[in-house]
Structures are given as structure tokens and as C-alpha cells.
Subunit: 466 residues, 2 copies
């Protein structure tokens, strides 16, 4: 990112966070230059960029002002789902949508992934080659599930930093987090069982429930504070809930994060009923602040929390490396792993372990978090500048998705199709619900550098939504 | 392998194949030296090695003779399984056995793997590092199931060499063959369905059937010529068979290979009933002759054969790379892959594709086949020299397993335990059967270089079996 872009992102964040309100004057070019230690030319460029993006407007002989049309977006409100448990058939719709949002030439608001150029792929390649050349051939025979000792040790160290006590021998390495989530859910359920999920939920949870012949009960989920515990308690009362699959931190698609106390209560509630929690925590490292959010696993005294993580979102997309710490179901999960894929690629495990030891993961993460923070501000500022009045959006403290609620009866599926025809992807609300709810909602990705093309695409999307 | 070892292996093969019979005189040192273009010293060393191994004995002033105690092993006969379909619970036993046979310090007759030092791991590491450094970052997003185009093209070329027409876009890349087999079986069955398997069968088939809540019907299987089609036809008549999971070539554990005509009839029989065949063909490249065995897939006009292959046994153990060509169930299998593990590691796919293009795969395979051929001869000769009279053994034309039937009521599980206590692993017959049949059978691995320690361990095993 160039210096003027970085400055523009900082200013956009101030606007987006309400520090600078609509109609207020921005600092002068000279003040900006002094305070941010940039040249006056850079400060001017930053202001012009904000003007281009509709966030500020110039008033002759007076300076730059926050655009009066700009409104601080409110997050969507919680919506109560039906309390019935249902078998699912969302997969057809999800597959159709996923096929369109994976293309490189499409503006990727609908993508599930961040921009791959944000990752240290060169360094990873070096580590991969180096560790593969050094690999003891016998590791290919002995390195079955649960996985590389060194990698598990490195992961346990990161847990420790988050204040979670997980020993290396409690960790099982998997081919990405999705395999971990699948194995964990399968280890604690039988076909026909009821699984509690968020509403909206990550579509892979819906697909897994469908594939395993389970039934889903949707739990009311606040787009800011996550799954509602009263709603969960009611579901447990009404159904024999065999397991929960939840994302308490930076939930996909809303970006919601349960407050720490709510996480603690969640674990206590489930412990009272002996219900396992499959905790999908793949965005954990992508918090935007100085401190990580503790996972629900941090409060797990009973071994009921099956915590699943991944390097795909934070370090090594495409390497397909994840893990789980499945608590007391460890042996069952390990056996499922052995009978479904035997082991996770040994050179990949070794390469990532080598990177974690010597690659500078924390440095990379700081840079990555900065990108996502700036891009979030740019997306939200542009949404406010262009989208119809009454549009709501979440401003997550981590991850790279915002959940958008369009006003009234606007149809996200129609918008998805109209946008696709113009080379723009969005993830429409109904793919995140067993009952195809959230008909006027979208998940937008801010994991990609904000460019002029992005800005134009967002303006186009806004036109289509108006 | 040193020259004298290679010569000894050739001579052992002649004995084992019955070209040289017990009591017959071997060619003189000078004749051997001339015919095999080695020095007389090398020829003498080869003869001493055969003597050490109990295959020949020296008679003073006369030369070397095939040991009179040596008997050409007969293969075990076919055993009819019960015709009922059953739910399974073999996993406990299998897991127990697998844990003991994976240890490096154990003599690995029970191992499922060949010696890892027989593979070009250095070259693969180079290719892996090189291709990872060159990887287009966008491939991490776009390279979802079905997998790398270049790798699928390389695999299609190998099919073509075998005379099988499979297009690149009919191939799906998986995390090893076991994932492919699992996804294929799951794509064509529902819980409660009946699946026809061999008897004995690869234990992973039993475990998958158990995990997916299916029922198994065991098909009588000749340890030389494979699954019996009359038995299969009877099972189809009696049960609604939803799918077959068979290894028509170099079957695990027997090493059986169906004659080509039987493969053709198998495909025709299943086509008449519209029953899919999951064809496990992971040893295809490990044939011992000049020509590969055609898979059943070669005769598949209906798209009912779901052919599964792997690089784990022939090229890259521990990389976890396999594939399937699932015929008309392709889309269903692809979707299962997307919802269980999304994609197979991109750098691993690229590294193997690079090796297939530039690494010298055919050269490596010729060397590997030579090792297995020689080691098979050494194992069978030693079996004949040491094991109790009436022991039967298969002499497979590929792969690296021989199936041993001990005479009478000898107990393979007891032998397995007694051997484990002496640091020797064997794979006991009952882990290969849903009904824990084959109580007096063993699978022995000849995928490891034959050493003095191997010879001593086999003699120990023979003592325990006597």
C-alpha cells in the first residue's frame, strides 16, 4: 500500500468509526502532513482519494468535509429463526454460488478467501523445499494421525499465547479446518441427530449436516454479539441436541464475536447438558487489535469443546493445513482421521512447522491485520457513501467479512445474479441458512486490497441495490 | 543392491518358480560368471548368500544344490464366506494391530508400506520446493476440487499408457487413495445399504463400511484369481447390492489378480444390474513384468467403474496424493470432496506434477519393481525353507504382499502377539474379514530390502508357527 493510500485508510477509519461525523471538516493538508509525517503532496493525494471514494467532498477555499450523505452504518438486528429441527438441502444453491465466486476476473466481494498475494508464499515455498529435503524417510510411515510432533508443539505454543492450555498431544493435524470440523462433528453424532447452528451460519456447516444425515436447529444470532444463549437453551429444552457447531469469534458470515462472558456461559450451559461444542475458530489470528479474543475452548474444563483451527486464512492458503483440539473425543476423532485420509501430507506439515519456528509469523500477521483493518474501513465508508438509506452493516473486530442487510424487501439472490452479470461477486444471504432466510442480506469480503476497480464495483453494486 | 545380491535374487527366483527343483545342482561358479557377466568372486558370493538363506547347500567338491527341504509353496485355496450381509465392528481390532506394525524398530512383515528409502524423496523434495516457489498465488483460490489441471493431464497420460481412456476432466485429485475410495463409496450409497467386498478384504474397506453405517456381504475370493463372479452374482441375487468395493489387481491382502477376461465379465455383470464398482487399484504401477495389468475401468462403457489410484505406494509416501476417475458419479464425488476437505494441497499437487513431467518416474518404477521382485523371491524361498510343512503362500505378480495360510488350526492372532513380543510384526488374517475369518492366515510384506535381520526374523517367526 502506498503512503497516501495508508493515510486515506486511516482517515476513512476515523469517519467510519464516527470520530469524524458527516459535515465535519477534516484537518488541513498541512496539519495532516505534520501529524502523519508525510509530505503535503501525499496528504493532498490522500484527500483526493477519499473524495474519489465519496467519503469526503472538497469545498472551495475551505478544505475537505465528511460527505453529508455519509451515515454511520448500523449493524443488522438479530432475527429469530423457527425453532423446528430440519433436514437440509441447501447444497445445490451453495454449489451454484461458490462456482461463480471463485473466478479470478470477478470483483471478489463474494469470495470466501482473502487476496492470496497478502501471504508469504515465497518464504513458505522455501521452508517447504528445505524441510522436505531434510525429511527422514521413515516419517512417511510413522507420521500418521495425529500428526507431526513439532507442528503440534508449535500450535500448542500459539494456544499458550492466547491463554488456552492445550497440550501438543491433545492436538490432531488435519487437511485444513474443514476436515477437522467434519471429523469432530461426525465423532459425536449419529445420523438423525439434531445439531444446533447459528442463524445465519457458515454454509459448510449446513453442507456437513446434510451430508451426515443430521438435522439442524438454527439459533438466533446477533450479528454483533453472536449466538443467543436463551435461544440455545430453548432449543436444548425442545430437542435432544447432540452437538453444537458454532463460531464464537469473528463468525462467518456476520463477523459477530461473543463477548468473553457469553463464551464462558456458553461453555457452562453446554457442560450442564453434556453437549459437545464444535468450535470453528479459523479467523482467530485475524483480530484487528493488540489482543486476541479467547476461544470458548479457554473455558472448557470438561473436554467438551472441540476447537478447530487453520492456517488457510492466516498464513498458507492452498496448503490445506488445519487442526483440532477435540478434548475427550480425541481418540474417536483420531480414528476417523485414520479411516478417512490416514494422515495429513508430511512435507506440508514439516514446511509449516519450519515456518512457524523461523519464518516470522507474528510479523506477517501484524501486516495482514493492518491490511484487513484498512480494507474494512474502505468498504464500510464506501457502503455508507453509496448504498441505499437504511442499509445496515457489521463492523467486525476481526476476519474479513461484513454482513449487510439491505432495506425492505430487496432480493439478495436477484442482486447476486445481476452483479454476477457485471463481473462482481457477492455471497447472498440464503446460502447461510437452512431455511433460506436472510433474503435481503449479503456477505461482503474485505480481504482484498481496495483499488479503483473495487470502488467502481461497489458503486455498481449500490446502483443495482437501489 | 550389490551385484552379488542381484545375482542371488535371480537364482532364488529360479528356485522359487520351480525352474530349479529341490536336489538339483546349480550352475558352476564359472558358468554363472560367464552367463551373468560378473566376476567369479561375485558368483561365489551370490552362492554363499543363498546358502546363508537356506535356499541352497554346498556339497564338498561337487557344487551347490537346491536344498532338499525346499518345497514350492502352493497358494491358499478359496474359502467360501457366509452369504449374509452384516454390519461391522472390526475397527477396534484393526486399530490395535496397526499401532504395533507402524514402529520403525520392528521387523515390518506386518507393515502396509514398503521401505520409504526405496523412493526418490530427495528429487521429490526438489520438485516440491521448485514448484512451490513458482506457484501463482491465485491457484490457492482457484485450485479447488477437482484439482490441478497439469496433474490431471499427467495422470490421464499414464492411463493412456495402460490402454485406459480417461480424460483429464474425468479425474478428481484427492488426499491419498483412501479419501478417493471413501468419497466414491459414499457418493453411491446411503446408510443401511449393502456393499460387496472381497474375502479376505483390505481392512480399510471394512472400516469405511462400518463408519458409513453400511452393511457388507463378503464374496468368495481366490487368493490367485481374485473375486469369484458366481459368488458375486449370488450375492446380487440375494441382496440389493448398492455397490462393490474390489481390488481386481494385486489385491490386498492376497496379491490376487483377476484374469483379464474375469475383469471384463465383472464389469459386464455389474453393468447388467447398474451396480457401481469402486475399484481400488493403488498397486497398479507395481507389477513385476513388462506389461501393466489393465484395470476393470478399461472395460467400463457405462461410467459405473470408479477407479481409484495413488502415488503413496509407487512414488511419494507421506505426500498423501491420490485420485479417482469416478465415471458418471463425478459431480457427486466432487461435491463430497468440496464439503469434506475443499481441495488437496496445491503445492503437493504441483510438486508431484512436476516430478511426473521431469523426474524420471518410469526409471524409478523399473528400479522399484526390481526390488520387489527380488524381495518376493527371498521371502518365498525363506518361507519354504523354514515354515511348517503344509504352509501355503501366494506369489503375486505385483504389489508387495504375500498371503500365507498356516497348516491346520494354528492361530494367527496368537502368532501376531508372540511375534510382536519379539519385535516382529505380522498382519493377522482376522483383520481382513468382517466375520474375523482367516484365523490361520497372515499377510507378509516384502516391500523392504532383505537383510540378515529379516532372515533371522523370518526364522524366528517360523519357530513360533511350528
Amino acid at each position: 500500500m502506498k503512503r497516501y493510500e495508508a493515510l486515506a485508510a486511516q482517515l476513512a477509519a476515523l469517519v467510519e468509526e464516527g470520530v469524524l461525523r458527516p459535515g465535519e471538516r477534516l484537518p488541513s493538508t498541512r496539519t495532516l502532513a505534520n501529524n502523519h509525517r508525510v509530505s503535503p503532496a501525499t496528504a493532498t493525494q490522500a484527500l483526493y482519494l477519499l473524495e474519489d471514494r465519496g467519503i469526503v467532498q472538497a469545498r472551495p477555499r475551505s478544505g475537505f468535509y465528511v460527505n453529508a450523505h455519509w451515515r454511520a452504518a448500523q449493524p443488522p438486528a438479530v432475527r429469530k429463526p423457527p425453532v423446528k429441527a430440519a433436514t437440509l438441502d441447501v447444497s445445490e444453491l451453495v454449489f451454484e454460488v461458490l462456482a461463480t465466486i471463485r473466478q479470478r476476473d470477478v470483483v471478489p466481494f463474494g469470495s470466501a478467501f482473502p487476496d492470496p498475494s497478502l501471504f508469504p508464499l515465497d518464504k513458505l515455498a522455501q521452508m517447504l523445499g528445505r524441510s522436505a529435503r531434510r525429511m527422514d524417510p521413515w516419517r512417511t510411515v510413522e507420521g500418521m494421525a495425529p500428526g507431526s510432533d513439532e507442528l503440534r508443539r508449535q500450535i500448542a505454543r500459539r494456544y499458550a499465547v492466547q491463554g488456552v492450555r492445550v497440550r501438543p498431544d491433545e492436538i490432531l493435524i488435519t487437511a485444513g479446518a474443514l476436515e477437522a470440523l467434519n471429523l469432530c462433528l461426525q465423532a459425536v453424532t449419529r445420523p438423525g441427530d439434531v445439531v444446533a447452528i447459528e442463524s445465519p451460519a457458515f454454509y459448510a456447516a449446513l453442507q456437513t449436516i446434510e451430508r451426515l444425515g443430521l438435522r439442524a436447529v438454527e439459533i438466533a444470532t446477533d450479528p454483533v454479539h453472536g449466538a443467543d444463549l436463551a435461544s440455545l437453551a430453548a432449543a436444548i429444552k425442545r430437542h435432544r441436541v447432540a452437538a453444537c457447531w458454532l463460531m464464537p469469534t469473528f463468525q462467518n458470515p456476520t463477523g459477530a464475536t461473543m463477548p468473553v462472558e457469553r463464551k464462558r456461559e456458553l461453555v457452562a450451559l453446554l457442560a450442564r447438558h453434556g453437549i459437545p461444542l464444535v468450535e470453528d475458530d479459523v479467523y482467530a489470528e485475524l483480530h484487528d487489535g493488540a489482543d486476541p479474543e479467547p476461544p470458548a475452548k479457554a473455558f472448557d474444563a470438561e473436554g467438551l469443546v472441540m476447537h478447530c483451527g487453520s492456517f488457510s486464512k492466516s498464513l498458507a492458503p492452498g496448503y490445506r493445513l488445519g487442526w483440532c483440539a477435540p478434548g475427550k473425543a480425541f481418540v474417536r476423532v483420531e480414528r476417523l482421521k485414520l479411516t478417512t485420509s490416514i494422515a495429513t501430507s508430511i512435507p506440508v506439515q514439516d514446511g509449516i512447522a519450519e515456518y512457524l519456528k523461523h519464518g516470522g509469523y507474528d510479523h506477517h500477521l501484524r501486516t495482514l491485520r493492518g491490511h484487513f483493518r484498512a480494507q474494512r474501513s474502505q468498504l464500510l465508508a464506501a457502503l455508507d457513501a453509496h448504498f441505499p438509506a437504511g442499509t445496515r452493516a457489521t463492523r467486525p473486530r476481526g476476519g474479513y467479512f461484513s454482513w449487510i442487510e439491505l432495506p425492505g424487501d430487496r432480493d439478495a439472490m436477484a442482486l447476486y445474479r445481476a452483479a454476477a452479470a457485471k463481473g462482481i461477486s457477492v455471497a447472498p444471504g440464503p446460502i447461510f441458512s437452512a431455511q433460506r432466510r436472510f433474503a435481503n442480506c449479503l456477505r461482503l469480503n474485505y480481504g482484498h486490497p481496495w483499488t479503483d476497480a473495487t470502488a467502481r464495483a461497489l458503486a455498481t453494486l449500490a446502483r443495482l441495490a437501489n
